[in-house]
């Protein structure tokens, strides 16, 4: 049972992150020099031992002999190089991805160091010398949770991109354009800058969409009656029938308080949808929680005080319940060789899928109210930045195929999560802070999208890897998008001046994130998912993502992507010949060569920002479902080059697959042959 070539893909423990730094191939040999730009003095002073030899990395699932190698600490990553493998094998762990570091009791083999990552990577090292182990341990504690925001990776991350390109990257997503796509401003809704100095609400963006009928006094009045001033604003307008999804925080109603302006505000929202005599007010909390809030002067809307509202509770649990649920789920995932019953019981007891279903049910309720009942919906929870964000973004995704495209999904995250003040920094634990604020709220949203992908394999332009990549970067702090808690804080941190935006970087790698089965923008409109319990599956690709042995041994996605790139390549060749583009032999080639490096391609990004990007109309959609801006972004040369690259990647992956194929009987046969009982 030789340890064979299985899993050389584990190399990229950091899920592709290191590659983004330009040539992970160089490996740690070049770490010191190459990372020069990323090394901040603050980080360096935490590293007392940059290199430890004789470190073992245990495999969680097999009885395979542990590997032996060297562990490096850099300013940004922990890198483990397996010296015992014939092929060079590296495991990269970004410091920001580290959730917990534990020093386990000393064993004969050495001092075990157990690292749990926020992207659900678990690494179990055994370090020969206890002193080394302790030093690595204390370094990692400090490196993984910086105290000052300036120490976050994003502020030192330098992909050698020009200032202009960096700025253009930040302008890639413009929410105004999305509102335009919905037809706003129109007779009923307007974009107001009432919040430009954060007077109305300091966790909202400067520009918000409110009913035209709501004047300044109504807005200000309502803001005084809503928790943290988070007044009802528009999240999504369903153009077909004028029904809107709006969001806010809980009212400060206590047991009996009223607010005329708030009542006017809701009336204005209801009247902005003349087709419906009523509107829903949805409190996404369990009723008990909402009632308990009344004692603190908060609570929920009294149906008697608001005209023609239908009030409804949807019991999604709070951040603390969700955190504990994930904790239990991860314990199940980590159990060593569990029986089927252990696993299913653990899955049930974690409650995780129950919570996912609750979020999905709420999203479906909203989408149905808007589409079938033609009624507007106002959604809130307590502060309106966790459950509300989940539910509103999910409903938009169900209603509007645009949000199922690359661009649309980025807009959706920018709009419902980033702009509306989901506290990424606290929920993800970017900085050393209150652990009770951490909660997998965004993870749940991403999982809901994945569950939808399982039911509707042809409706999303992107694939599972895209979701995982976004999920990685929410925690990586490599890009500025998810830093801080709200727009104001990001301004104060100067992230738009000092950091890079994630989105152009993702668009660069679009080929590998593409869903080959996507049938185009117009093939499906609203989605009506099945929400019976059996339709929800455990997402092995997320929670056991780094346990490659558990995944299907042959990857359909890779194969189809390579089929596809082959096809586009042929088509490209054809169009190239037809067009004989004049700049073919021009200076572009050099740029194309450096395409793998971050940033070079985004010189084309201004093209993304034209209004037709956001047009929801079928017109700009080509037969293959790609939109005009796809074509604009990259010249044919770029495109082709990229294809070659991704093709190359595919081949490599295929080879890896093969390696896995006939590797030892791994999980199946581990310890199967034991003495007779």
């Amino acid at each position: 049972m030789a340890a064979s070539a299985r899993g050389s893909r584990e190399t990229c423990g950091g899920a592709g992150l290191p590659r983004a730094n330009g040539g992970a191939e160089a490996g740690p040999r070049a770490v010191g020099a190459r990372r020069g730009e990323a090394v901040t003095a603050a980080a360096m002073e935490h590293i007392t031992t940059p290199k430890v030899e004789n470190v073992k990395l245990l495999d969680r699932y097999t009885n395979r002999k542990a590997t032996n190698g060297t562990l490096y600490l850099t300013a940004t990553h922990l890198i483990y190089v397996d010296a015992s493998a014939e092929v060079r094998k590296e495991t990269w762990i970004l410091h920001h991805h580290i959730a917990t570091v534990e020093k386990l009791p000393l064993t004969t083999a050495g001092c075990p160091l157990l690292i749990h990552c926020k992207n659900f990577h678990v690494a179990h090292f055994v370090i020969g010398q206890e002193r080394d182990c302790h030093e690595v341990y204390t370094s990692l504690l400090k490196l993984s949770q910086p105290v000052k925001p300036e120490d976050l990776y994003a502020f030192s991350y330098n992909p050698k991109m020009s200032k202009d390109n960096r700025e253009i990257g930040w302008k890639l997503i413009d929410l105004k354009v999305d509102y335009q796509r919905m037809g706003i401003p129109n007779d009923y809704w307007e974009i107001t800058d009432a919040n430009k100095d954060y007077e109305v609400c300091n966790t909202y963006p400067p520009e918000i969409v409110v009913p035209r009928a709501a004047n300044k006094a109504t807005v200000i009045g309502s803001s005084r009656f809503r928790s943290r001033g988070r007044i009802p604003v528009l999240s999504y307008l369903y153009k077909e029938n004028n029904a809107a999804i709006c969001r806010c925080s809980q009212p400060l109603s206590g047991f009996s308080a009223r607010c005329l302006e708030d009542e006017q505000m809701l009336q204005a929202i209801r009247e902005a949808n003349p087709g419906s005599p009523f509107m829903y007010v949805v409190d996404t909390r369990p009723k008990l929680n909402a009632m308990a809030n009344r004692a603190a002067g908060k609570g929920y809307e009294n149906e008697d005080n608001y005209d023609n509202i239908r009030f409804k509770f949807i019991g999604i649990e709070n951040i603390h319940v969700m955190r504990n649920s994930l904790q239990k789920l991860l314990e199940v995932c980590e159990t060593k060789s569990p029986s089927m019953s252990d696993f299913l019981t653990g899955l049930e007891n974690s409650g995780w899928l129950r919570h996912i279903k609750a979020v999905m049910d709420a999203g479906v309720f909203l989408a149905k109210a808007v589409k079938d009942e033609k009624a507007s919906v106002l959604v809130h929870c307590s502060d309106g930045w966790d459950r509300t964000a989940q539910v509103c973004s999910l409903a938009s995704l169900l209603l509007d195929p645009f949000y199922r495209t690359f661009k649309g999904f980025m807009v959706l995250i920018e709009k419902e999560w980033i702009a509306m003040g989901h506290k990424f920094s606290h929920r993800c634990g970017h900085l050393d802070g209150d652990p009770k604020e951490v909660s997998p709220v965004f993870t749940q949203f991403i999982e809901c999208v994945w569950q939808l992908m399982q039911q509707f394999p042809c409706t999303f332009e992107f694939n599972e890897r895209f979701l995982l990549e976004i999920h990685d970067h929410v925690y990586s702090c490599q890009f500025g998008n998810f830093l801080g808690t709200c727009h104001k804080e990001r301004e104060d941190l100067k992230i738009f001046e000092k950091t890079h935006s994630l989105w152009p970087f993702l668009l660069q790698k679009k080929q590998e994130f593409r869903n080959p089965l996507y049938r185009g923008f117009t093939a499906y409109k609203e989605l009506q998912p099945n929400t019976l319990p059996f339709s929800f599956q455990f997402w092995c690709g997320m929670y056991n993502r780094f346990d490659k042995g558990m995944h299907p041994k042959q990857c359909v996605l890779d194969h189809l992507l390579s089929c596809m790139s082959q096809k586009t390549k042929l088509e490209d060749n054809a169009s190239e010949l037809e067009n004989k583009l004049p700049f073919l032999d021009g200076p572009l080639t050099t740029e194309a060569c450096s395409l793998s490096k971050m940033g070079s391609g985004s010189s084309k990004t201004p093209m993304l920002n034209t209004p037709q990007d956001y047009e929801g109309e079928p017109a700009p959609v080509l037969t293959n479902g790609s939109m005009v801006w796809d074509i604009n972004v990259m010249s044919d040369v770029d495109q082709k080059n990229k294809e070659n690259l991704s093709k190359h990647q595919d081949l490599r992956d295929l080879k890896d697959t093969v390696g896995v194929l006939d590797s030892e009987a791994k999980d199946a046969s581990a310890a199967l042959i034991s003495s007779e009982n």
Partner: protein, 622 residues
């Protein structure tokens, strides 16, 4: 489908004498222009008379049919010897009615009836055209739960009618005589009767093995089923053991199932054998011939593994009833491994509980997961795959011979040997190879299909012999296909079709319990083979996996719980809509077909990456 011509329903009036006025006329209208899915039987008059006695009501008008996922439809219900038909009434424009239901009565697993005296009550679901006069006072609902897990409802006007229909269906569905079953009457015009029966001649398969090694020979000891009534006439045994010794060894094994070769692993020359338990009994009886037989399998100094599919304790207890297991002292070079696999009643109950949970749409997430766990079906899948991997590992990695048996050697034994071959041998993973594997390791090896598949998940009759071992096997194959989406030439559709046909079929392939029974019933002479139909070009297309590319390697599945999924395509076939998933497959098909060259390219790439298996690869290229 749809090849039949109208008016060929000759025998039916005999089988179904009209007892009610209007019944005959109604049928005549309904039968005009039937797009017949299959030609009905040319039954002998004698059989027809027997069926006629079972049919109390042959036709009922204005029956409302509803079932999961289909809009309710009203029409005329006909009961024939083997089928239940419902044809919608001709539309107002004089268009002929169409057949909405064509159900093999053998497929009915359970019949539930509910009658109500409605009196003044008019059913609310009528849509205008309701003009039935017999609705005078009562109606009834029959729920048909089918072996393929589909559930249908028939709303029948008239209580008496309803009861008659129900008892007719019950009687017809529980006809137990093999020769009365539909395959003996089914004569599709497009197939030849003898086609498909000799596609996979066992002798030739064994001869090929015998030709590759001098240690094995084809024996005709069982030509007349005298050595072992459940073995086929052809068996392959160690060359060093003569027929006389075999006969003695057979007497030492339950049901005469002496150790025979099941699979020869060409890569290293190891073999997998299967048998039933030895009859050691409480007195620890021994049999020199049996010991000799197993002894000659191993070369000097070699050791083999016996995989007993019962727990050590169960094997020990079997001694009390005359069975037992191979004691170390008598078989010193064989190492025994116990891997208990569920079978019999517990397995049947597991299946029923799972289907019950799947059909309960009112479950919360917690209840669903808890019932999924407590039915234990996925645990059985995991155990079966693990044990098959163990057998495969012994052969491929340990380079040791393996003997697999449980008690009778006709259930879990075959589950393990068939799965292990699928894991090891790329030849079994083609469409033809898989059919050959089923023929060899399930049908000819004597899995008692007639007993095991007599009832499915819904039957609450007192079950004795029923157990879904074949379904468990199909489920495991589905798990393999999910983990190795390129490695099986066939897709899910084939597995579903096999499941359906094992429980109720127009074809003779799964009839009877063993070759001896099939010979006695002249199954091969009087029925069509399922394989003949499946391999028709038009039909075959449906079963192929568009992603298939030959993979010469061993496919080791992961048996971690995270890697094993509930087979939704089977258990939720009639419950969830598969529209979007079907579209995805169509899209895959489209993508791959446009790209045939690159498939081959990457397939070639895959193969070239397996230097360790080049030998096996070239061997297997055919």
């Amino acid at each position: 489908m749809g090849a039949g011509a109208p008016g060929v329903l000759g025998p039916r009036p005999v089988a179904a004498p009209a007892r009610r006025e209007g019944g005959l006329g109604g049928r005549a209208v309904a039968l005009q222009g039937f797009p017949l899915p299959r030609q009905p039987p040319r039954s002998s008059a004698g059989a027809a008379m027997e069926f006629a006695e079972l049919i109390k009501t042959a036709t009922v008008e204005s029956v409302l049919l509803s079932g999961a996922g289909l809009p309710p439809v009203r029409g005329t219900l006909c009961i024939t010897s083997h089928h239940l038909l419902l044809s919608s009434r001709p539309g107002g424009d004089g268009a002929p009615g169409s057949v909405e239901l064509w159900l093999l009565i053998r497929n009915v697993d359970a019949v539930e009836k509910r009658v109500q005296n409605l009196g003044w009550y008019q059913p609310p679901r009528t849509n205008g055209s309701q003009r039935d006069t017999r609705l005078a006072g009562s109606s009834g609902t029959i729920t048909l739960r089918c072996k393929d897990l589909k559930v249908l409802q028939l709303e029948i006007p008239g209580m008496e009618e309803c009861l008659n229909v129900a008892s007719s269906i019950e009687a017809l569905s529980s006809v137990d005589s093999v020769m009365m079953l539909y395959p003996f009457f089914y004569r599709p015009p497009s197939l030849r009767l003898e086609a498909g029966w000799h596609l996979f001649p066992l002798e030739r398969y064994y001869q090929q093995i015998a030709a590759q090694t001098s240690q094995w020979r084809l024996s005709s000891i069982n030509r007349d089923f005298s050595a072992c009534p459940t073995y086929p006439p052809a068996v392959i045994v160690p060359a060093a053991v003569d027929d006389e010794a075999l006969r003695k060894a057979a007497r030492f094994r339950q049901g005469g199932r002496f150790p025979v070769l099941s699979y020869y692993h060409r890569k290293n020359g190891t073999v997998m054998l299967r048998s039933s338990q030895p009859l050691t009994g409480p007195n620890r009886k021994r049999c020199r011939e049996d010991e000799l037989l197993l002894g000659t399998v191993l070369d000097e100094g070699e050791r083999g593994f016996i995989i007993d599919t019962r727990s050590a304790q169960a094997a020990k207890q079997a001694r009390m009833t005359g069975g037992g297991t191979e004691p170390k002292a008598s078989y010193p070079r064989w190492k025994r491994l116990h891997r208990p696999l569920e079978r019999g009643r517990p397995l049947q109950e597991s299946f029923a509980k799972l289907v019950d949970a799947c059909n309960d749409t009112a479950l919360t997430m917690d209840r669903w997961l808890s019932r999924l766990e407590s039915c234990r079906w996925l645990s059985h899948v995991k155990a079966a795959l693990s044990t098959a991997c163990l057998a495969a590992q012994c052969l491929d990695r340990e380079e040791a011979c393996v003997l697999v048996h449980g008690a009778e050697g006709t259930d879990t034994t075959l589950l393990v040997t068939a799965l292990a071959q699928l894991i090891l041998d790329p030849g079994c993973r083609t469409l033809a190879g898989f059919q050959g594997l089923l023929e060899r390791e399930w049908i000819e090896a004597g899995h008692p299909f007639h007993l095991r598949c007599a009832r499915s998940a819904y039957s609450h009759a007192r079950l004795k012999q029923e157990a879904p071992l074949f379904l468990l096997f199909l489920d495991c194959v589905w798990q393999l296909s999910r983990q190795f989406p390129f490695s099986l030439e066939f897709g899910e559709q084939l597995l579903l079709t096999l499941f359906d046909n094992a429980y109720a079929s127009s074809y003779g392939t799964f009839l009877g319990n063993n070759e001896k029974e099939r010979c006695l019933c002249k199954v091969k002479e009087s029925t069509h083979s399922l394989w003949a139909w499946l391999n028709e070009p038009g039909e075959k297309k449906k079963y192929l996996n568009p992603l298939y590319s030959h993979n010469a390697l061993v496919i080791w599945p992961s048996v971690e719980p995270q890697s094993i999924q509930l087979w939704q395509g089977l258990f939720f076939r009639w419950i969830r809509s598969s529209e979007y998933l079907d579209e995805a497959w169509a899209e895959i098909q489209r993508l791959v077909e446009n790209d045939d060259t690159s498939v081959e390219e990457s397939a070639g790439n895959r193969q070239s990456q397996a230097p360790s298996d080049t030998a096996a690869q070239t061997e297997n290229k055919r």
